[in-house]
Symmetry: C2
Subunit: 184 residues, 2 copies
DNA sequence: CGCCAGGTTGAAGCGCTTCAACGTCTGTGG
DNA sequence: CCACAGACGTTGAAGCGCTTCAACCTGGCG
């Protein structure tokens, strides 16, 4: 975490205690849909998914893998009710910081400001890609891209969650996969 | 610009000269697709659109209205060729800062760091909404939302650009609109 | 064993696309 | 001033891809 930004020793000592390590078992919730998201979680290991419960099937809106952040940012930044929940797909180790502590960290550490900016920018590039992918790529292409990003995912979470991330129905994903098998 | 972040007088004096005001006439390009995006532009007035030229029709990927930023962020941050172009939809007044100057500004001003972070976070919430909208909303709903955000847009840019922003073909948008007229 | 969750497959339906024709408006040149 | 061309939008008809609904299969588990 500290490698990419030049923290001074003093800064790091003040900022580090504001964090908290949290371990989530598989299927445990980091955030319940409708609650205010008070915690920003950095995924040290494991994987989480953000989902909506309105729909019949648990609807996966996004995944967070190692070195990603897991958060409903709109809820966290604006301190308003979240529109999604967050659940651990596997046992996951998180480094968490509360909204209050994060604001405090930003106050005492310019380097942490920079770090926060870089993280937001990285997330921005990711979201940008996702928008492009939803606009321009076929479900099959989106599926192949996701598999490339995390091949193990397939072994651990139901296909209907993957389908919802891709923006299609489970049955359609099933056919996409059948098609890919035929091609090979 | 300075209102939302506590710039000290000295900081602001050092950062302000790094910016440059630019005026773009209608249809003038801020960025040509394939070039490296070297400039971050804040839209003081006017409107721009980000588009791809691969497609037959100019494909609008996103719009930038007043108080938005116009930039291919992936290209700007990574200094690699852009996948989109940026064009003025109307005569637009921009406050620009180059990648080099922005990095310099971040170095001399912690308040500017914070400002940058807040801007990235705002863009993040926007992109997040867009992803949700593409996943969950119908083209008709997306159309109504866009019209609410900038009703004048309709008068100034071709419908086929709006269609591509929504992720549908011009003919489909035409039918959506015909449908809405019938309903009223 | 029997149940249930997850996945696949088939058939029908629907929404967006594709292609083609036509309408309208605007600008341009004879 | 009219004629014509080109850009933009609309409309119709056919096609295709994803959805919907229903049936069925499989593996895990009480």
């Amino acid at each position: 975490m500290a490698e990419c930004v030049p923290f001074s020793k003093g800064e790091w000592d003040r900022v580090q205690p504001l964090h908290e390590v949290k371990i989530l078992e598989k299927n445990e919730l980091l955030l319940r849909q409708g609650e205010i998201c008070t915690t920003l979680a950095f995924v040290v290991s494991g994987a989480l998914c953000q989902f909506r419960t309105e729909d019949v099937d648990p609807y996966a809106y996004d995944f967070s893998f190692e070195a990603d952040y897991a958060v409903d940012f709109a809820s966290f930044a604006g301190q308003k009710p979240s529109t999604i929940g967050i659940r651990a797909l596997r046992t996951s180790v998180l480094v968490c910081i509360s909204k209050k502590n994060l604001d405090a960290a930003y106050k005492v550490s310019p380097a942490f400001q920079e770090f926060g900016r870089l993280m937001a920018e990285r997330a921005l590039v990711y979201d940008d890609d996702r928008v492009k992918s939803l606009l321009y790529d076929t479900p099959e292409e989106r599926y192949l891209n996701l598999m490339e990003r995390d091949p193990e995912l397939l072994q651990e979470i139901p296909l209907y969650s993957i389908a919802s991330y891709l923006g299609i129905r489970p049955e359609s994903l099933s056919r996409v996969r059948a098609n890919l098998n035929k091609k090979k």
